[in-house]
């Protein structure tokens, strides 16, 4: 019997204890904690902990801390410690500068709210970004390169206003220093173009961090008035030799030689008012252009331009005729006309390629045809075919090197 009692007692005990274990403990919801934060202004990276000194059971349902910082909103859960509750902000909040709104929220109800401020953390591994442009400017008083410096702290946050930035730039032997202050997250300065062409090197220093070397190339300004001259092998209008025009060294208003590759256009106007053109690119300020000699006596008026910028003086170039007369041989039936042999100024055969024109008129002086041929071995040959030119009287006119010769031809039927 005793045993039975004992058993009963044990059974009761066991059932009780198991009851105790399974019983759900209703978590207490806490909505009357007051968070404190040691200060309202932090340096980036410093740990930020909100805490409330209130002893709580470990299973208490805590309000949540909603944090809105520059880059978005996160939710921080509280941790119950022996002394109370703490909310520790993660790095992604503590390392970003700017205002941080916080709200303690329970079931959509705001229990407490506030703002803290995080300022940049200037230590040794700060950042400095520099943006430099335009990187190619022209010499003179108008153009400039702009340097924009965006200093940042160790966590890539922009710095506060009025942070000192030292700017240095070098041109030839001169180094200029400018003391700048940041405003609206940046510091900036215009670096004016010098009067000489060359390179400007720029560097900036902020919070002990140096920027890399930045370069701006100063190109010469626009060309100014220049002179032209010519060289040629002889003065004869043989339609074969080449005349070379060259400019003086073209400079800008500050004495800088203009940039290589500047396009210079040369224009020659002949005595009939016809314009010939050639272009040259400058090297070392000098541009060269070439033209073919004319094939008849002529005088050219030549000038050159850097389009939109500068003009040269005008020079006159005269060409003498290479020969004053030439023979014309006409076959018996008058249908084959051989111009030449043409001899040039040293009695040498005139070079191949000289243009010979033949104009044919009928007996009423009506134009029938114009034929063009070129000189070959000192001769040019024309043939008046019986199929096109029936028997009759014709007038022909031969023109080469500006010399005109006229013949009256009586063509009869048979050619051979």
């Amino acid at each position: 019997m005793k045993k039975a009692y004992l058993l009963l007692f044990l059974l009761a005990f066991v059932s009780c204890s198991s009851d105790n274990k399974t019983a759900v403990i209703v978590p207490t919801i806490i909505d009357d904690i007051t968070l404190t934060v040691p200060k309202n202004e932090f340096i980036a990276g410093e740990s930020i902990v909100f805490s409330a000194h209130k002893k709580l059971k470990t299973n208490t349902v805590l309000p949540q801390l909603v944090i809105e910082s520059t880059f978005g909103v996160i939710v921080v859960n509280g941790v119950i410690t022996e002394t109370g509750v703490t909310y520790t902000l993660p790095n992604l909040i503590t390392r970003r500068i700017g205002l941080v709104d916080w709200q303690l929220v329970l079931n959509s109800k705001i229990l407490q709210s506030g703002i803290i401020k995080i300022t940049p953390n200037i230590t040794k591994n700060n950042g400095l970004e520099s943006y430099f442009g335009p990187r190619s400017i022209s010499a003179g008083d108008i153009d400039f390169s702009m340097l924009v410096i965006v200093p940042s702290d160790v966590y890539d946050n922009p710095v506060i206003d009025n942070t000192a930035v030292d700017l240095k730039y070098q041109f030839e032997n001169e180094v200029t220093e400018v003391a700048l202050k940041t405003k609206d997250l940046i510091a900036w300065n215009n670096i004016p173009a010098p009067h000489k062409s060359g390179r400007i090197l720029v560097t900036a220093l902020c919070n002990g961090i140096k920027s890399k070397e930045l370069t701006s190339i100063v190109f010469p300004a626009n060309a100014t008035t220049f002179k032209i001259d010519y060289t040629r092998d002889h003065a004869y209008a043989d339609g074969n030799q080449i005349i070379r025009f060259r400019t003086s060294i073209i400079k800008d208003e500050y004495g800088n030689v203009i940039s290589d590759g500047t396009l210079v256009s040369f224009t020659a106007e002949n005595s009939n008012g016809i314009q010939l053109q050639a272009v040259g690119l400058s090297i070392g300020g000098v541009a060269i252009a070439k033209m073919l000699h004319p094939d008849e006596k002529d005088t050219w008026k030549v000038d050159a331009y850097v389009t939109g910028a500068a003009k040269s003086n005008t020079i006159n170039v005269s060409f003498k005729t290479a020969f004053s007369d030439y023979p014309v041989n006409i076959s018996k039936d008058n249908r084959r006309i051989i111009v030449g042999p043409i001899t040039s100024f040293m009695d040498q055969l005139a070079p191949d390629g000289l243009l010979v024109r033949l104009t044919i008129f009928d007996h009423n002086h009506q134009l029938i045809e114009k034929k063009v041929s070129t000189l070959q071995n000192g001769n040019a040959t024309f043939f008046l075919d019986a199929d096109f030119y029936p028997s009759g009287n014709y007038t022909i006119e031969i023109k080469t090197a500006g010399i005109i010769k006229t013949y009256n031809l009586d063509l009869n039927g048979n050619t051979n």
Binding site: V73, S108, P134, I186
Partner: protein, 512 residues
């Protein structure tokens, strides 16, 4: 005999199966052919410009473009604005889904890490944000000489956010914050390099304008659609003369107010259909000529309410309100017709949030006209009573309960005027209501309720002037017992004959 029948059955089965098999083969071949014919549209070869869809159109103002760097070109200003707003848009989307998508287009290498950090953190903590910004006030601090760097200040950005943790809402808030941003031009995009949350600029709270409620307290009238174009008043059938005649008739009935509806999608959402807007203005002008006041109900047939849609609806409202606010005929703005019916499908919180912000938007554009919402039942009538200027409710229940229901509203009304904005009875009699309705019943209804309304000086707008031949399914659904009822709420039949109810409703007792 039996074998012959059997044989015939076999034959039949054979022929049928032959036909079926052939049919299946043909179907197979045609589906293969039609599949092979699908694919990219040929015009896609031309790489025609992709039209940007309006998904995010917050109100943007530019204050100051003067800066020490370089004058800002109009073109660049547009590009900066577009890309800066896109940076907000992609961030909103990214925080909603906790996905990186789109961030790299609008944040530089170093800046996007900061956004990614937040996304990762929220993903780990099961936090999602539903956010939008409604208003940006931009000014330019600096624009570099090479046109590749800009410093902007964005003052008093109005935003709305909902914070969810494990899909449960933690908090929601309408908030104002200010930012400074450095943008760099990279790959043709203006990308955020630095962003810093700064102090707000204090701005004066606009003075509260005292409103004139006499028009509302004395309102007597009805909801109006033309006879032949119900629920499509400003469509192709819009006819000024018809509306003029109708308004003349309403005036003759002794009425002074009408309520009309602006359908949201028909009016072009954010890119307003200006032809329809012009017709709306003409309608107001005709009303003014006939000495009628008009309650304009906005956002008819709208049903999204999502935060991501707020900027679009705000743009829509802003344009319409500004176009109509100077009309002498305008009596009040009704934000939305019966939004409480969407509480279930769209969640009451979403709908209420949308309504609240829309009230602010409309108030901001037009502080001189009272704002209301046409709640569908007397129970819903006092929702948002503190935000609205007067109460509007619809009543389609039995008349016996009307006095009690009305008293309940008065108690909760905070002394704001109460308008019975829709009520009426259909004279439909047919299969679907067991031939229960009749024109006499309708007449009886008006006889009874008009006396109550006039006696208690309750402003009223009845539903409606005409019977309608056609009722779109989007109005009352496809169920015939609902749809048919909707045809016969008028005082005048489709043939233009006055029903008995007309004389009980009309205040001009000569029967004119």
């Amino acid at each position: 005999m039996a074998t012959r029948i059997n044989r015939n059955i076999y034959r039949g089965i054979l022929i049928l199966s032959f036909l079926v098999v052939n049919g299946l083969i043909l179907f197979g071949i045609t589906s293969v052919l039609s599949y092979l014919n699908t694919g990219a549209d040929r015009t896609s070869m031309l790489h025609l410009e992709v039209e940007r869809e309006d998904v995010y159109l917050p109100d943007v103002t530019w204050d100051n473009l003067n800066n020490p760097g370089r004058p800002l070109e109009k073109q660049t200003q547009g590009e900066i604005e577009r890309d800066y707003l896109s940076s907000w848009y992609v961030k909103n989307i990214a925080y909603k889904t906790n996905d990186y998508y789109g961030i790299k287009d609008y944040y530089t290498d170093s800046a996007r890490v900061k956004v990614y950090n937040t996304i990762d953190y929220n993903l780990n903590h099961k936090v999602n944000l539903n956010t939008t910004t409604l208003k940006h006030n931009l000014s330019l601090d600096f624009y570099s000489a090479d046109g590749k760097l800009a410093v902007l200040e964005d003052k008093n950005v109005v935003s709305f956010k909902e914070v969810f943790k494990a899909n449960k809402i933690i908090t929601q808030e309408r908030d104002t914050s200010s930012y400074k941003a450095i943008l760099l031009l990279e790959d043709g995009f203006w990308r955020i390099r630095h962003l810093k949350k700064i102090e707000n600029e204090s701005h004066q709270i606009p003075k509260k304008v005292s409103l004139d409620f006499t028009g509302i307290k004395n309102a007597k009238g009805l909801n109006y659609y033309p006879k032949d174009s119900p629920w499509d008043m400003f469509g192709k059938k819009f006819n000024e003369f018809t509306i003029h005649l109708d308004f003349e008739l309403i005036k003759k009935m002794g009425m002074n107010t009408i309520r009309i509806f602006v359908p949201y999608e028909d009016f072009g959402k954010a890119s307003i259909d200006y032809i329809k807007l012009d017709r709306l203005k003409k309608t107001l002008a005709i009303a003014e000529k006939n000495k009628l006041k008009v309650v304009i109900t906005l956002f008819d047939f709208y049903g999204n309410y999502d935060i991501s849609d707020w900027t679009i609806t705000n743009k829509h409202a802003t344009i319409i309100v500004n176009a109509c606010k100077n009309s002498n005929a305008l009596l009040a703005w009704d934000i939305k017709n019966e939004p409480d019916l969407d509480f279930e499908s769209r969640s009451s919180k979403t709908v209420i949030n949308w309504l609240k912000q829309m009230i602010i938007t409309v108030k901001n554009e037009d502080p001189y006209h009272p704002i209301t919402i046409g709640w569908s039942s007397p129970e819903a009538a006092t929702l948002l009573v503190d935000d609205l200027d007067f109460i509007s409710f619809h009543y389609y229940k039995k008349i016996q309960n009307f006095r009690d229901d009305y008293k309940k509203i008065v108690i909760k009304s905070n002394d704001k005027p109460i308008m019975l904005q829709e009520y009426g009875l259909s004279s439909y009699s047919g299969l679907w209501n067991f031939y229960g309705g009749s024109e006499d019943n309708q007449a009886e209804y008006y006889k009874e309720i008009q006396s109550v309304l006039l006696e208690n000086k309750i402003p009223f707008l009845a539903w409606t002037l005409y019977d309608f031949k056609e009722v779109p399914s989007s109005v009352a659904g496809r169920l015939p017992w609902r749809k048919n009822k909707q045809h016969n709420f008028g005082f005048i039949t489709t043939n233009g004959e006055k029903k008995p109810s007309y004389s009980y409703f009309s205040l001009n007792k000569k029967g004119e």
